[in-house]
């Protein structure tokens, strides 16, 4: 056991060191890509005829956009690593504050949809694998195919029409302007359901494939030969092995779900990080976009590591 903990510690340390150059490269690429997107923070002012060339020049200087690109990048990077994330180009508030205030909504949505998606995907994937090629398996697979292919915005709008406009059971969007905690929870139902459905569908398919593979292994057959019942064989022997690769997918999806729930957040006017990203992109709010891209990159690296640690924990061969 100690050797295993030590191995995991070494893995963590190695990954942390490797992450530094990786994140640097990512920041450079992200900065460059943002410059390649046509239009910048100044162009958003052009729709007002009262904004004249001298105003544009003044605003460009005020935002530091008149400096050479490399200088903009270096000064951004130097400040960023010191923890100074700068000010939003669109509203002048600190970038960190703008992101942090959106986190509770994002984490709430992430948590609820993770729980829902796992609650659906775990049993569905196992049952489909165990009852492979039966009508149950085919029904699950069909539903999963629907979930993978259905556009989130369409599903969201349909749910709104049925549950908000038609039945009046649930609020259609927002997070509730007033009301207590429980009342506000109903705003979470539809966005969480949409996000969960889409992810559950994909995870069900992964888990089913993984389980089928593991169930074919000699050790599962050996467990059967030792007289263990089917339930124990599946839950104690096959499942931990099948879960290892699925855990990686789930964690990576989860890392991307915070900034990546863009469509769901937009349809449901959910005030999370995803809608901040859409808004910042529309206004070419470079400082906010860079910070969000860096946070997402760090999250992907961290969740990747976490997935590897879990994988290694579940399967000691990986750690060694």
């Amino acid at each position: 056991m100690d050797a295993r903990v030590g191995a995991l510690g070494r893995l963590t340390a190695r990954r942390a060191v490797e992450a530094v150059p990786l994140l640097l490269i990512v920041s450079g690429i992200a900065f460059g890509l943002l410059q390649l997107v046509p239009g910048g923070p100044i162009e958003v002012y052009l729709s007002n005829p009262g904004v004249r060339p001298e105003d544009l020049e003044r605003l460009r200087r005020a935002l530091g956009l008149d400096r050479p690109l490399w200088e903009q990048y270096v000064s951004w990077l130097a400040a960023f690593v010191r923890g100074d994330w700068g000010f939003s180009f669109s509203d002048g508030r600190p970038v960190l504050a703008r992101i942090v205030e959106r986190l509770p909504a994002s984490l709430e949505l992430l948590g609820a949809s993770l729980v829902l998606a796992l609650a659906a995907a775990l049993p569905a994937g196992i049952i489909a694998a165990v009852k492979r090629r039966t009508s149950t398996d085919r029904a699950i697979s069909a539903l999963a195919a629907v979930g993978v292919s259905i556009p989130a915005f369409w599903l969201g709008l349909m749910l709104q029409l049925v549950f908000a406009v038609g039945l009046g059971w649930l609020p259609s969007a927002g997070r509730g302007a007033d009301g207590d905690g429980l009342a506000r929870l109903q705003y979470l139902v539809m966005p969480a359901a949409v996000l969960a459905f889409v992810h559950a569908a994909a995870w069900t398919r992964y888990l089913r494939a993984s389980m089928i593979e593991v169930l074919k292994s000699p050790f599962v057959a050996a467990a059967g030969a030792r007289g263990l019942d089917a339930r124990t064989r599946i839950t104690r022997h096959a499942l931990p092995n099948a879960l290892a690769p699925v855990a990686t997918v789930v964690l990576l999806d989860a890392a991307l779900m915070v900034p990546g729930a863009v469509v769901t957040e937009s349809v449901f006017a959910w005030p999370g990080v995803g809608s901040l990203f859409t808004e910042a992109l529309g206004r070419r709010d470079y400082t906010v976009l860079m910070a969000m891209l860096m946070v997402s990159s760090v999250a992907v690296v961290a969740f990747n590591l976490l997935a590897d640690l879990i994988h290694a924990w579940l399967d000691p061969r990986v750690a060694s």
């Binding site: 046509p38 060339p53 049952i127 709008l157 709104q160 649930l170 969007a173 006017a269 005030p271």
Partner: protein, 537 residues
């Protein structure tokens, strides 16, 4: 089948758990009273400082009032000023040195929400703050021509302009900055003010929840009297998705959606309890013809031919369902400066073909597209993505150009990208609208020295006579004289067929049928200009 059941059971459980406590919820459907109005708004403001924002000032105008505002007929009416200064009432005096003095007299009874009187010192401070290099407002237009401000008494401010500035009456349409709050501070970072500005209006900012909503509450002791406003709470919820906004209107969660797209008209008009207000706006959809990037547009006959080639009434009656009237120039009928007698170009493909023939464009190789000196008449027509109506209109234009042997390729771009393209002149033709201020400002769009970056002349037209006219209008204060000059300018623009005007931009606002006092507004002043007078029955 069992696992499909598992998923739905999970969802249903969460739904039930949530609904269980939901009866006291704040969704608009359960609060239909007369004291609260929920507005589904398409975007969150960047700042509530009216001088800093680059987004429509709908929310701001409920809180911060201008010295004047523009009403539903686009007339400039006094708000915090006792009257609008003019030459006739002695409020405007032209000086011999070419400058002008404008005297603003303020209403005596107006106080800021904190009880401090609103005075000429605030007017003076506003001019100085905007002209100060320390502050970065969106625009300093007009302010930068004011050399000094005298305040002979607390209710009189005299502005000295170094030259004649025709739109002087709209100088303070965005209001004034409170000196006692902002003096000596960095306004760009004064977030206490920028997020909850101190105003004199019917409402004050009670709460701004980022990404969710802004809640305005009635300001106590509003200067018009305690009976205003009748609606005590205005809740602006930010719902960027148009379909969602309209779903919320249907479910009763929001009461009101301003400026919704034309293609949703039937759907919204059919919602019970919702009234749709249509008002002709001060904007016009048109096709800009960039003469610099596509030299064929430099030939007047070609531009006239392209204008004759388009069946504008067909577009207006079919795609636009009669909502947007055909227009013939940049100044719309709602404006005092509108000239109805400019040249009209009827839909006449034969005339279009004849003009193109005359200009030397023939289909010499029979491929259906005209050519001249080995060059095909083939250009790109850019327009903004995400507007269903505009995308449809672009396709009609493409088809009708094709009928006269002209090939147009439609390209869609997102809003910020397209701004960059037109500002750099990197396009051939563009389908878009200009939303003009209440004071017609044609020089910016048509003077020969106002091509980007110096202005918005993106037709890249260079006409001496027109340039003389539009600048003369800018240097004239008398409205009768300006009307005459601007009328001539409009006639010149139509004669030269500088761009292809299509239709006026009608504004559609969906409000509760029981809302009284609502009028809409043709300008960017926005429909909340008279919010103090609204009542819910």
């Amino acid at each position: 089948m069992r696992s499909a059941g598992v998923l739905s059971v999970c969802l249903a459980t969460l739904a039930l758990a949530a609904c269980g406590g939901g009866s006291s919820s704040g969704s608009g459907a359960t609060a239909p009273g007369t004291s609260r109005l929920v507005v589904g708004y398409d975007r969150e403001p960047d700042t509530l400082n009216r001088f800093s924002t680059h987004i429509l000032e709908d929310i701001e105008s409920c809180v911060v009032e201008g010295l004047v505002t523009t009403n539903e007929k686009m007339e400039i009416v006094p708000l915090l000023a006792a009257s609008v200064p003019t030459l006739e009432n002695g409020g405007v005096v032209l000086r011999k040195d070419g400058g002008m003095d404008v005297t603003w007299r303020l209403r005596p009874e107006v106080k800021w929400h904190d009880g401090t009187p609103h005075t000429s010192a605030d007017v003076k401070f506003t001019v100085e703050a905007i002209n100060s290099p320390a502050y970065n407002p969106e625009s300093t237009d007009g302010f930068d021509r004011i050399t000094s401000v005298d305040t002979p008494d607390p209710l009189t401010a005299v502005l000295h302009y170094q030259e004649v500035y025709a739109p002087y009456a709209l100088q303070f349409v965005r209001g004034t900055l409170p000196r006692h709050v902002l003096d000596g501070r960095d306004i760009d970072t004064a977030n206490d003010y920028n997020r909850a500005p101190l105003g004199t209006g019917a409402y004050k900012v009670a709460e701004w929840k980022s990404g969710e909503y802004i809640r305005l509450e009635a300001a106590p002791n509003y200067w018009r009297g305690a009976q205003f406003p009748a609606i005590k709470t205005l809740l602006f919820t930010f719902i960027p998705n148009t379909n969602t906004r309209i779903n919320q209107l249907k479910s009763g969660e929001v009461d009101m959606v301003v400026m919704f797209p034309w293609d949703k008209y039937r759907e919204v008009a059919a919602i019970p309890g919702v009234a749709v207000y249509k008002i002709d706006g001060n904007g016009y959809e048109h096709v800009t013809l960039n003469q610099r990037a596509f030299p064929a547009f430099g030939d007047m006959r070609v531009r006239q031919a392209l204008t004759h080639a388009i069946d504008r009434s067909l577009i207006s009656t079919t795609i636009l369902e009669g909502l947007a009237p055909v227009t013939h120039g940049p100044v719309q009928p709602v404006s005092w400066a509108h000239n109805p007698k400019v040249r009209h170009y009827a839909f006449d493909p034969a005339r279009a073909a004849a003009l193109l023939d005359e200009a030397g464009w023939h289909d010499s190789n029979g491929d259906g597209v005209r050519d001249k000196d080995g060059q095909r008449f083939s250009f790109t027509l850019i327009t903004q993505a995400g507007f269903a109506v505009r995308e449809n209109v672009a396709q009609v234009l493409q088809r009708q150009f094709k009928d006269v042997g002209v090939a147009a390729a439609v390209q869609l771009h997102d809003g910020t990208s397209i701004s960059k393209l037109w500002f750099e002149g990197k396009f051939h033709a563009m389908l878009h609208w200009w939303q003009l201020p209440a004071d017609p400002e044609l020089a910016l769009f048509f003077a020969k020295d106002r091509m980007p970056p110096a202005g918005r002349n993106i037709n890249y037209v260079s006409d001496d006579a027109l340039t003389t006219l539009v600048y003369a209008a800018d240097r004239t204060v008398s409205q009768a004289e300006r009307t005459r000059i601007l009328g001539e300018a409009q006639a010149r623009i139509a004669d030269l067929a500088i761009e292809i005007p299509l239709y006026g931009v009608t504004k559609l606002d969906a409000v509760p049928a029981r809302l009284k006092g609502f009028t809409g507004n043709p300008t960017n002043t926005g429909p909340f200009w008279n919010v103090h007078a609204w009542t819910l029955e």
